[in-house]
Symmetry: C2
Protein backbone atom coordinates (compact mmCIF):
# COMPACT_ATOMS: atom_id res chain seq x y z
CA UNK A 1 0.00 0.00 0.00
CA UNK A 2 1.63 3.21 -1.21
CA UNK A 3 1.27 6.39 0.82
CA UNK A 4 1.90 9.48 -1.24
CA UNK A 5 3.78 12.20 0.63
CA UNK A 6 3.12 14.80 -2.04
CA UNK A 7 0.69 15.01 -4.96
CA UNK A 8 0.70 17.89 -7.41
CA UNK A 9 -0.69 18.53 -10.86
CA UNK A 10 0.78 20.58 -13.68
CA UNK A 11 -0.20 20.79 -17.37
CA UNK A 12 -2.51 17.80 -17.14
CA UNK A 13 0.03 15.58 -15.40
CA UNK A 14 -0.12 14.44 -11.76
CA UNK A 15 3.16 13.81 -9.96
CA UNK A 16 3.02 11.64 -6.84
CA UNK A 17 5.97 11.31 -4.45
CA UNK A 18 6.41 8.34 -2.14
CA UNK A 19 9.06 6.04 -0.76
CA UNK A 20 9.47 2.32 -0.34
CA UNK A 21 11.59 0.32 2.11
CA UNK A 22 13.89 -2.24 0.52
CA UNK A 23 16.53 -4.30 2.33
CA UNK A 24 17.03 -1.70 5.03
CA UNK A 25 17.05 1.25 2.65
CA UNK A 26 14.36 3.89 2.17
CA UNK A 27 14.06 4.60 -1.55
CA UNK A 28 12.54 7.91 -2.66
CA UNK A 29 10.32 7.47 -5.71
CA UNK A 30 8.14 9.58 -7.95
CA UNK A 31 5.33 8.60 -10.28
CA UNK A 32 3.85 10.66 -13.11
CA UNK A 33 0.49 9.91 -14.75
CA UNK A 34 -2.20 11.85 -16.61
CA UNK A 35 -4.56 13.82 -14.32
CA UNK A 36 -7.53 11.68 -13.37
CA UNK A 37 -5.95 8.51 -14.74
CA UNK A 38 -8.15 5.44 -14.20
CA UNK A 39 -7.52 1.84 -15.18
CA UNK A 40 -4.38 0.08 -16.41
CA UNK A 41 -1.91 1.79 -18.72
CA UNK A 42 1.64 1.35 -20.03
CA UNK A 43 4.36 2.21 -17.56
CA UNK A 44 7.93 3.36 -18.22
CA UNK A 45 10.63 3.08 -15.56
CA UNK A 46 13.34 5.72 -15.96
CA UNK A 47 16.75 5.22 -14.41
CA UNK A 48 18.80 8.40 -14.07
CA UNK A 49 22.52 8.79 -14.76
CA UNK A 50 25.42 9.12 -12.34
CA UNK A 51 25.18 12.24 -10.10
CA UNK A 52 21.61 12.84 -11.31
CA UNK A 53 18.36 12.05 -9.48
CA UNK A 54 14.78 10.87 -10.04
CA UNK A 55 13.50 14.30 -11.08
CA UNK A 56 16.40 15.24 -13.31
CA UNK A 57 15.18 17.57 -16.12
CA UNK A 58 15.28 14.99 -18.93
CA UNK A 59 13.25 12.44 -16.98
CA UNK A 60 10.77 15.08 -15.83
CA UNK A 61 10.25 16.36 -19.37
CA UNK A 62 9.80 12.90 -20.89
CA UNK A 63 7.48 11.78 -18.08
CA UNK A 64 5.22 14.76 -18.74
CA UNK A 65 5.27 14.22 -22.51
CA UNK A 66 4.54 10.51 -22.23
CA UNK A 67 1.60 11.25 -19.91
CA UNK A 68 0.25 14.02 -22.13
CA UNK A 69 0.76 12.44 -25.52
CA UNK A 70 0.54 8.70 -24.82
CA UNK A 71 -1.37 8.46 -21.53
CA UNK A 72 1.52 6.57 -19.92
CA UNK A 73 2.69 6.47 -16.33
CA UNK A 74 6.40 6.97 -15.56
CA UNK A 75 8.22 5.81 -12.45
CA UNK A 76 11.62 7.07 -11.30
CA UNK A 77 13.58 6.36 -8.14
CA UNK A 78 16.76 7.78 -6.63
CA UNK A 79 19.53 5.24 -7.19
CA UNK A 80 21.70 4.22 -4.22
CA UNK A 81 24.00 7.09 -3.26
CA UNK A 82 21.96 9.63 -5.24
CA UNK A 83 19.23 12.27 -4.94
CA UNK A 84 17.45 12.55 -1.63
CA UNK A 85 19.53 9.67 -0.27
CA UNK A 86 22.52 11.95 0.15
CA UNK A 87 23.09 15.51 1.34
CA UNK A 88 23.03 18.49 -0.96
CA UNK A 89 26.80 18.89 -0.44
CA UNK A 90 27.46 15.29 -1.41
CA UNK A 91 25.22 15.65 -4.46
CA UNK A 92 27.09 18.76 -5.59
CA UNK A 93 30.46 17.09 -5.11
CA UNK A 94 29.25 14.09 -7.14
CA UNK A 95 28.00 16.36 -9.87
CA UNK A 96 31.39 18.08 -10.16
CA UNK A 97 33.24 14.76 -10.18
CA UNK A 98 30.95 13.10 -12.74
CA UNK A 99 30.82 16.29 -14.81
CA UNK A 100 34.61 16.33 -15.11
CA UNK A 101 34.62 12.63 -15.98
CA UNK A 102 31.94 12.62 -18.70
CA UNK A 103 33.47 15.63 -20.43
CA UNK A 104 36.85 13.92 -20.44
CA UNK A 105 38.50 16.52 -18.20
CA UNK A 106 39.68 13.83 -15.82
CA UNK A 107 40.53 10.22 -16.45
CA UNK A 108 38.17 7.74 -14.82
CA UNK A 109 40.21 4.76 -13.70
CA UNK A 110 38.16 1.65 -12.98
CA UNK A 111 39.89 0.93 -9.68
CA UNK A 112 38.93 -2.28 -7.85
CA UNK A 113 37.36 -0.14 -5.10
CA UNK A 114 35.19 1.79 -7.55
CA UNK A 115 34.15 -1.40 -9.35
CA UNK A 116 33.25 -3.07 -6.04
CA UNK A 117 31.17 -0.08 -4.91
CA UNK A 118 29.38 0.04 -8.26
CA UNK A 119 28.67 -3.70 -8.18
CA UNK A 120 27.23 -3.45 -4.68
CA UNK A 121 25.07 -0.44 -5.57
CA UNK A 122 23.90 -2.14 -8.76
CA UNK A 123 22.76 -5.26 -6.87
CA UNK A 124 20.88 -3.06 -4.41
CA UNK A 125 19.40 -0.95 -7.21
CA UNK A 126 18.01 -4.04 -8.98
CA UNK A 127 16.21 -5.08 -5.76
CA UNK A 128 14.87 -1.55 -5.39
CA UNK A 129 13.52 -1.38 -8.93
CA UNK A 130 11.71 -4.69 -8.50
CA UNK A 131 10.17 -3.53 -5.24
CA UNK A 132 9.16 -0.17 -6.72
CA UNK A 133 7.57 -1.90 -9.71
CA UNK A 134 5.71 -4.31 -7.37
CA UNK A 135 4.41 -1.33 -5.42
CA UNK A 136 3.10 0.77 -8.31
CA UNK A 137 1.52 -2.23 -10.02
CA UNK A 138 -0.92 -2.41 -7.07
CA UNK A 139 -2.33 0.97 -8.10
CA UNK A 140 -5.57 0.79 -10.06
CA UNK A 141 -4.39 3.42 -12.56
CA UNK A 142 -1.38 1.26 -13.47
CA UNK A 143 -2.25 -2.39 -12.80
CA UNK A 144 -0.15 -5.49 -13.11
CA UNK A 145 -1.14 -6.62 -16.60
CA UNK A 146 0.08 -3.69 -18.63
CA UNK A 147 3.28 -3.54 -20.61
CA UNK A 148 6.32 -2.01 -18.89
CA UNK A 149 9.31 -0.36 -20.52
CA UNK A 150 12.67 0.71 -19.11
CA UNK A 151 14.70 3.77 -20.05
CA UNK A 152 18.17 4.43 -18.66
CA UNK A 153 21.51 5.45 -20.14
CA UNK A 154 24.99 5.64 -18.61
CA UNK A 155 24.51 4.61 -14.96
CA UNK A 156 20.91 3.92 -15.93
CA UNK A 157 22.31 1.22 -18.22
CA UNK A 158 24.85 -0.09 -15.72
CA UNK A 159 21.86 -0.74 -13.45
CA UNK A 160 19.38 -1.34 -16.27
CA UNK A 161 21.20 -4.25 -17.92
CA UNK A 162 21.09 -6.55 -14.85
CA UNK A 163 17.61 -5.26 -13.94
CA UNK A 164 16.06 -5.83 -17.37
CA UNK A 165 17.80 -9.22 -17.58
CA UNK A 166 16.29 -10.27 -14.24
CA UNK A 167 12.83 -8.76 -14.66
CA UNK A 168 10.48 -10.51 -17.11
CA UNK A 169 7.90 -7.74 -16.71
CA UNK A 170 10.09 -5.38 -18.76
CA UNK A 171 8.94 -5.66 -22.37
CA UNK A 172 11.36 -3.24 -24.04
CA UNK A 173 14.27 -1.03 -23.05
CA UNK A 174 16.21 2.04 -24.14
CA UNK A 175 19.82 1.66 -23.04
CA UNK A 176 23.16 3.22 -23.96
CA UNK A 177 26.08 5.51 -23.14
CA UNK A 178 27.81 2.56 -21.54
CA UNK A 179 30.20 -0.17 -22.59
CA UNK A 180 31.24 -3.71 -21.82
CA UNK A 181 34.78 -3.82 -20.51
CA UNK A 182 36.81 -7.00 -21.13
CA UNK A 183 36.42 -9.24 -18.11
CA UNK A 184 33.12 -7.71 -16.94
CA UNK A 185 31.57 -11.17 -16.80
CA UNK A 186 28.46 -10.31 -14.76
CA UNK A 187 27.55 -7.47 -17.09
CA UNK A 188 28.18 -9.66 -20.13
CA UNK A 189 26.03 -12.51 -18.76
CA UNK A 190 23.23 -10.06 -17.94
CA UNK A 191 23.38 -8.51 -21.41
CA UNK A 192 23.24 -11.99 -22.97
CA UNK A 193 20.14 -12.77 -20.90
CA UNK A 194 18.16 -9.77 -22.20
CA UNK A 195 15.64 -10.82 -24.84
CA UNK A 196 13.25 -7.87 -25.13
CA UNK A 197 13.60 -5.27 -27.91
CA UNK A 198 16.33 -2.72 -27.13
CA UNK A 199 17.17 0.65 -28.62
CA UNK A 200 20.80 1.33 -27.75
CA UNK A 201 22.03 4.91 -28.05
CA UNK A 202 25.72 5.63 -28.16
CA UNK A 203 27.90 8.70 -28.55
CA UNK A 204 30.90 8.22 -30.80
CA UNK A 205 33.22 10.48 -28.76
CA UNK A 206 32.05 9.38 -25.32
CA UNK A 207 34.80 9.95 -22.74
CA UNK A 208 33.23 7.37 -20.42
CA UNK A 209 32.78 4.40 -22.78
CA UNK A 210 34.95 3.73 -25.83
CA UNK A 211 33.38 2.83 -29.19
CA UNK A 212 34.85 -0.63 -28.88
CA UNK A 213 33.27 -1.21 -25.47
CA UNK A 214 29.97 0.33 -26.54
CA UNK A 215 29.76 -1.96 -29.57
CA UNK A 216 30.73 -4.91 -27.34
CA UNK A 217 27.79 -4.18 -25.03
CA UNK A 218 25.41 -3.80 -27.97
CA UNK A 219 26.69 -7.04 -29.46
CA UNK A 220 26.32 -8.86 -26.13
CA UNK A 221 22.59 -8.07 -25.90
CA UNK A 222 20.65 -11.29 -26.44
CA UNK A 223 17.66 -9.52 -28.00
CA UNK A 224 16.55 -10.52 -31.46
CA UNK A 225 15.33 -6.96 -32.05
CA UNK A 226 18.02 -4.51 -31.08
CA UNK A 227 19.03 -1.34 -32.84
CA UNK A 228 22.13 0.78 -32.35
CA UNK A 229 21.87 4.55 -32.78
CA UNK A 230 25.34 6.10 -32.82
CA UNK A 231 25.96 9.82 -33.14
CA UNK A 232 29.03 12.05 -33.10
CA UNK A 233 29.75 13.94 -29.90
CA UNK A 234 30.33 13.39 -26.22
CA UNK A 235 28.49 11.76 -23.33
CA UNK A 236 26.15 14.71 -22.74
CA UNK A 237 25.50 15.45 -26.42
CA UNK A 238 22.79 12.98 -27.49
CA UNK A 239 20.91 14.78 -30.30
CA UNK A 240 17.33 15.80 -29.62
CA UNK A 241 16.00 13.58 -32.38
CA UNK A 242 16.98 10.54 -30.30
CA UNK A 243 14.51 11.67 -27.64
CA UNK A 244 11.80 11.64 -30.29
CA UNK A 245 12.98 8.19 -31.35
CA UNK A 246 12.70 6.85 -27.77
CA UNK A 247 9.10 8.02 -27.58
CA UNK A 248 8.27 6.21 -30.84
CA UNK A 249 10.13 3.11 -29.64
CA UNK A 250 8.01 2.95 -26.48
CA UNK A 251 4.86 3.72 -28.44
CA UNK A 252 5.62 0.92 -30.89
CA UNK A 253 6.20 -1.64 -28.15
CA UNK A 254 3.91 -0.49 -25.34
CA UNK A 255 0.94 0.84 -27.32
CA UNK A 256 0.91 -0.38 -30.91
CA UNK A 257 2.65 -3.67 -30.21
CA UNK A 258 0.60 -4.43 -27.12
CA UNK A 259 -2.57 -3.71 -29.02
CA UNK A 260 -1.49 -5.87 -31.95
CA UNK A 261 -0.62 -8.71 -29.59
CA UNK A 262 -3.97 -8.43 -27.85
CA UNK A 263 -5.69 -8.55 -31.23
CA UNK A 264 -3.64 -11.56 -32.31
CA UNK A 265 -4.48 -13.35 -29.05
CA UNK A 266 -8.20 -12.53 -29.31
CA UNK B 1 11.87 20.58 -71.40
CA UNK B 2 10.65 17.20 -70.22
CA UNK B 3 8.32 15.13 -72.38
CA UNK B 4 6.41 12.56 -70.39
CA UNK B 5 5.94 9.25 -72.18
CA UNK B 6 3.42 7.96 -69.67
CA UNK B 7 1.34 9.62 -66.96
CA UNK B 8 -0.90 7.68 -64.61
CA UNK B 9 -2.59 8.32 -61.30
CA UNK B 10 -3.22 5.90 -58.43
CA UNK B 11 -4.35 6.56 -54.85
CA UNK B 12 -3.83 10.30 -55.16
CA UNK B 13 -0.34 10.03 -56.64
CA UNK B 14 0.63 10.82 -60.23
CA UNK B 15 3.53 8.90 -61.74
CA UNK B 16 5.22 10.42 -64.78
CA UNK B 17 7.71 8.49 -66.94
CA UNK B 18 10.31 10.19 -69.08
CA UNK B 19 13.91 9.91 -70.19
CA UNK B 20 16.86 12.22 -70.47
CA UNK B 21 19.96 12.08 -72.64
CA UNK B 22 23.27 12.31 -70.82
CA UNK B 23 26.70 11.82 -72.33
CA UNK B 24 25.43 9.55 -75.08
CA UNK B 25 23.17 7.53 -72.80
CA UNK B 26 19.38 7.60 -72.62
CA UNK B 27 18.39 7.42 -68.96
CA UNK B 28 14.87 6.19 -68.10
CA UNK B 29 13.39 8.15 -65.20
CA UNK B 30 10.18 8.28 -63.23
CA UNK B 31 8.72 11.04 -61.09
CA UNK B 32 6.00 10.71 -58.45
CA UNK B 33 4.04 13.68 -57.06
CA UNK B 34 0.63 14.26 -55.48
CA UNK B 35 -2.23 14.48 -58.00
CA UNK B 36 -2.74 18.07 -59.10
CA UNK B 37 0.51 19.24 -57.50
CA UNK B 38 1.18 22.94 -58.08
CA UNK B 39 4.10 25.06 -56.93
CA UNK B 40 7.45 24.11 -55.43
CA UNK B 41 7.80 21.21 -53.02
CA UNK B 42 10.50 19.07 -51.41
CA UNK B 43 12.00 16.45 -53.69
CA UNK B 44 13.63 13.15 -52.80
CA UNK B 45 15.92 11.34 -55.23
CA UNK B 46 15.94 7.58 -54.71
CA UNK B 47 18.81 5.46 -55.97
CA UNK B 48 18.02 1.74 -56.28
CA UNK B 49 20.29 -1.13 -55.30
CA UNK B 50 22.28 -3.50 -57.49
CA UNK B 51 20.09 -5.61 -59.86
CA UNK B 52 17.06 -3.46 -58.93
CA UNK B 53 15.49 -0.66 -60.98
CA UNK B 54 13.78 2.73 -60.68
CA UNK B 55 10.36 1.26 -59.85
CA UNK B 56 11.54 -1.40 -57.44
CA UNK B 57 8.83 -2.09 -54.81
CA UNK B 58 10.50 -0.26 -51.91
CA UNK B 59 11.03 2.92 -53.93
CA UNK B 60 7.50 2.78 -55.36
CA UNK B 61 5.96 2.36 -51.90
CA UNK B 62 7.97 5.16 -50.31
CA UNK B 63 7.37 7.50 -53.25
CA UNK B 64 3.60 7.01 -52.86
CA UNK B 65 3.72 7.49 -49.07
CA UNK B 66 5.86 10.62 -49.30
CA UNK B 67 3.46 12.11 -51.86
CA UNK B 68 0.36 11.17 -49.85
CA UNK B 69 1.58 12.04 -46.37
CA UNK B 70 4.14 14.80 -46.97
CA UNK B 71 3.22 16.21 -50.39
CA UNK B 72 6.72 15.46 -51.71
CA UNK B 73 7.89 14.58 -55.19
CA UNK B 74 10.21 11.59 -55.68
CA UNK B 75 12.54 11.02 -58.61
CA UNK B 76 14.13 7.69 -59.52
CA UNK B 77 16.27 6.71 -62.50
CA UNK B 78 17.62 3.41 -63.81
CA UNK B 79 21.31 3.25 -62.95
CA UNK B 80 23.79 2.33 -65.72
CA UNK B 81 23.43 -1.36 -66.57
CA UNK B 82 20.05 -1.64 -64.86
CA UNK B 83 16.29 -1.59 -65.43
CA UNK B 84 15.10 -0.59 -68.89
CA UNK B 85 18.71 -0.07 -69.99
CA UNK B 86 19.24 -3.83 -70.25
CA UNK B 87 17.21 -6.77 -71.55
CA UNK B 88 14.87 -8.76 -69.34
CA UNK B 89 17.26 -11.73 -69.61
CA UNK B 90 20.21 -9.63 -68.44
CA UNK B 91 18.14 -8.21 -65.59
CA UNK B 92 17.15 -11.69 -64.43
CA UNK B 93 20.75 -12.92 -64.58
CA UNK B 94 21.86 -9.88 -62.53
CA UNK B 95 19.14 -10.51 -59.99
CA UNK B 96 20.29 -14.11 -59.52
CA UNK B 97 23.93 -13.07 -59.24
CA UNK B 98 23.31 -10.22 -56.79
CA UNK B 99 20.80 -12.32 -54.85
CA UNK B 100 23.40 -15.00 -54.25
CA UNK B 101 25.95 -12.38 -53.25
CA UNK B 102 23.86 -10.41 -50.75
CA UNK B 103 22.67 -13.56 -49.01
CA UNK B 104 26.26 -14.74 -48.68
CA UNK B 105 25.76 -17.81 -50.89
CA UNK B 106 28.68 -16.81 -53.07
CA UNK B 107 31.79 -14.85 -52.26
CA UNK B 108 32.03 -11.47 -53.96
CA UNK B 109 35.64 -10.86 -54.87
CA UNK B 110 36.44 -7.23 -55.62
CA UNK B 111 38.42 -8.05 -58.73
CA UNK B 112 40.19 -5.18 -60.53
CA UNK B 113 37.79 -5.67 -63.45
CA UNK B 114 34.71 -5.41 -61.24
CA UNK B 115 36.11 -2.36 -59.43
CA UNK B 116 36.92 -0.66 -62.73
CA UNK B 117 33.43 -1.33 -64.13
CA UNK B 118 31.81 -0.04 -60.94
CA UNK B 119 33.98 3.09 -60.93
CA UNK B 120 33.07 3.83 -64.55
CA UNK B 121 29.35 3.27 -63.94
CA UNK B 122 29.47 5.41 -60.80
CA UNK B 123 31.03 8.34 -62.66
CA UNK B 124 28.35 8.05 -65.34
CA UNK B 125 25.59 7.71 -62.72
CA UNK B 126 26.67 10.93 -60.98
CA UNK B 127 26.41 12.82 -64.27
CA UNK B 128 22.99 11.30 -64.88
CA UNK B 129 21.63 12.22 -61.45
CA UNK B 130 22.74 15.82 -61.92
CA UNK B 131 21.10 16.01 -65.32
CA UNK B 132 17.90 14.40 -64.03
CA UNK B 133 17.77 16.85 -61.13
CA UNK B 134 18.36 19.77 -63.51
CA UNK B 135 15.48 18.54 -65.65
CA UNK B 136 12.85 18.08 -62.96
CA UNK B 137 13.73 21.37 -61.27
CA UNK B 138 12.38 23.12 -64.39
CA UNK B 139 8.91 21.77 -63.57
CA UNK B 140 6.59 24.26 -61.87
CA UNK B 141 5.37 21.65 -59.36
CA UNK B 142 8.95 21.07 -58.17
CA UNK B 143 10.96 24.24 -58.77
CA UNK B 144 14.62 24.95 -58.19
CA UNK B 145 14.44 26.55 -54.74
CA UNK B 146 13.05 23.69 -52.72
CA UNK B 147 15.06 21.37 -50.53
CA UNK B 148 16.23 18.08 -52.06
CA UNK B 149 17.04 14.85 -50.26
CA UNK B 150 18.76 11.70 -51.46
CA UNK B 151 17.94 8.13 -50.47
CA UNK B 152 20.03 5.15 -51.60
CA UNK B 153 21.51 2.11 -49.90
CA UNK B 154 23.94 -0.55 -51.16
CA UNK B 155 24.63 0.41 -54.81
CA UNK B 156 22.51 3.49 -54.08
CA UNK B 157 25.23 4.46 -51.60
CA UNK B 158 28.14 3.51 -53.86
CA UNK B 159 26.67 6.01 -56.33
CA UNK B 160 25.15 8.27 -53.68
CA UNK B 161 28.35 9.10 -51.82
CA UNK B 162 30.14 10.71 -54.80
CA UNK B 163 26.86 12.23 -56.03
CA UNK B 164 25.91 13.83 -52.70
CA UNK B 165 29.51 15.00 -52.25
CA UNK B 166 29.47 16.71 -55.65
CA UNK B 167 25.92 18.09 -55.54
CA UNK B 168 25.32 21.07 -53.24
CA UNK B 169 21.57 20.95 -53.92
CA UNK B 170 21.28 17.79 -51.79
CA UNK B 171 20.37 18.91 -48.28
CA UNK B 172 20.24 15.54 -46.51
CA UNK B 173 20.79 11.90 -47.34
CA UNK B 174 19.90 8.40 -46.21
CA UNK B 175 22.79 6.07 -47.03
CA UNK B 176 23.96 2.65 -45.89
CA UNK B 177 24.44 -1.07 -46.55
CA UNK B 178 27.89 -0.26 -47.90
CA UNK B 179 31.40 0.00 -46.59
CA UNK B 180 34.69 1.74 -47.16
CA UNK B 181 37.37 -0.74 -48.19
CA UNK B 182 40.96 0.09 -47.30
CA UNK B 183 42.55 1.85 -50.25
CA UNK B 184 39.24 3.07 -51.73
CA UNK B 185 40.62 6.61 -51.89
CA UNK B 186 38.00 8.14 -54.19
CA UNK B 187 35.15 6.86 -52.03
CA UNK B 188 36.89 8.07 -48.88
CA UNK B 189 37.51 11.54 -50.32
CA UNK B 190 33.89 11.77 -51.45
CA UNK B 191 32.62 10.68 -48.02
CA UNK B 192 34.85 13.28 -46.37
CA UNK B 193 33.40 15.95 -48.65
CA UNK B 194 29.78 15.28 -47.61
CA UNK B 195 28.56 17.89 -45.14
CA UNK B 196 24.76 17.52 -45.13
CA UNK B 197 22.93 15.52 -42.41
CA UNK B 198 23.12 11.77 -43.07
CA UNK B 199 21.19 8.84 -41.62
CA UNK B 200 23.34 5.77 -42.24
CA UNK B 201 21.64 2.38 -41.95
CA UNK B 202 23.71 -0.73 -41.58
CA UNK B 203 23.03 -4.44 -41.13
CA UNK B 204 25.29 -6.15 -38.62
CA UNK B 205 25.50 -9.45 -40.54
CA UNK B 206 25.73 -7.98 -44.03
CA UNK B 207 27.44 -10.41 -46.40
CA UNK B 208 28.35 -7.56 -48.75
CA UNK B 209 29.97 -5.06 -46.35
CA UNK B 210 31.71 -6.01 -43.11
CA UNK B 211 30.99 -4.17 -39.86
CA UNK B 212 34.47 -2.76 -39.94
CA UNK B 213 34.06 -1.35 -43.45
CA UNK B 214 30.57 -0.06 -42.67
CA UNK B 215 31.82 1.81 -39.60
CA UNK B 216 34.74 3.12 -41.65
CA UNK B 217 32.36 4.62 -44.21
CA UNK B 218 30.17 6.14 -41.48
CA UNK B 219 33.26 7.56 -39.80
CA UNK B 220 34.55 8.99 -43.08
CA UNK B 221 31.40 11.07 -43.64
CA UNK B 222 32.28 14.73 -43.13
CA UNK B 223 28.80 15.65 -41.87
CA UNK B 224 28.45 17.26 -38.47
CA UNK B 225 25.02 15.63 -38.09
CA UNK B 226 25.25 11.97 -38.95
CA UNK B 227 23.58 9.08 -37.21
CA UNK B 228 24.28 5.37 -37.53
CA UNK B 229 21.40 2.91 -37.25
CA UNK B 230 22.74 -0.63 -36.97
CA UNK B 231 20.51 -3.70 -36.74
CA UNK B 232 21.09 -7.43 -36.59
CA UNK B 233 20.52 -9.40 -39.78
CA UNK B 234 21.61 -9.54 -43.39
CA UNK B 235 21.69 -7.20 -46.37
CA UNK B 236 18.01 -7.65 -47.23
CA UNK B 237 16.74 -7.57 -43.65
CA UNK B 238 16.52 -3.88 -42.72
CA UNK B 239 13.70 -3.72 -40.11
CA UNK B 240 10.51 -1.94 -41.12
CA UNK B 241 10.93 0.67 -38.41
CA UNK B 242 13.93 2.05 -40.30
CA UNK B 243 11.60 2.90 -43.18
CA UNK B 244 9.51 4.95 -40.75
CA UNK B 245 12.70 6.58 -39.49
CA UNK B 246 13.72 7.61 -43.04
CA UNK B 247 10.39 9.33 -43.54
CA UNK B 248 10.83 11.28 -40.30
CA UNK B 249 14.43 12.11 -41.26
CA UNK B 250 13.31 13.63 -44.54
CA UNK B 251 10.39 15.38 -42.87
CA UNK B 252 12.72 16.88 -40.28
CA UNK B 253 15.16 18.19 -42.86
CA UNK B 254 12.96 18.92 -45.88
CA UNK B 255 9.77 20.16 -44.18
CA UNK B 256 10.33 21.13 -40.54
CA UNK B 257 13.95 22.15 -40.99
CA UNK B 258 13.33 24.07 -44.17
CA UNK B 259 10.44 25.88 -42.54
CA UNK B 260 12.50 26.68 -39.44
CA UNK B 261 15.33 27.99 -41.61
CA UNK B 262 12.94 30.15 -43.59
CA UNK B 263 11.53 31.53 -40.33
CA UNK B 264 15.03 32.18 -38.98
CA UNK B 265 15.98 33.98 -42.19
CA UNK B 266 12.81 36.10 -42.17
Amino acid sequence: MIEFSDVRSEDGVTRRSFSIDVAGETVPAVLWAPDGAEGPRPLVLMGHGGSQHKKTPGIRARAAQYAQRLGYATLAVDAPGHGDRISREEAEANMREVGARVTGQVASPWTPERLALMAERTRQAVLEWKAALDAVQTLDFIGDAGPVGYWGVSMGTAIGVPFVAAEPRIGCAVLGLAGLRPGAREMEAAANAITCPVEFVFQWEDAVASREHGLALFNALGSREKTLHANPGGHMEIPNFEGASWERFFKRHLSDGARAEALAAA
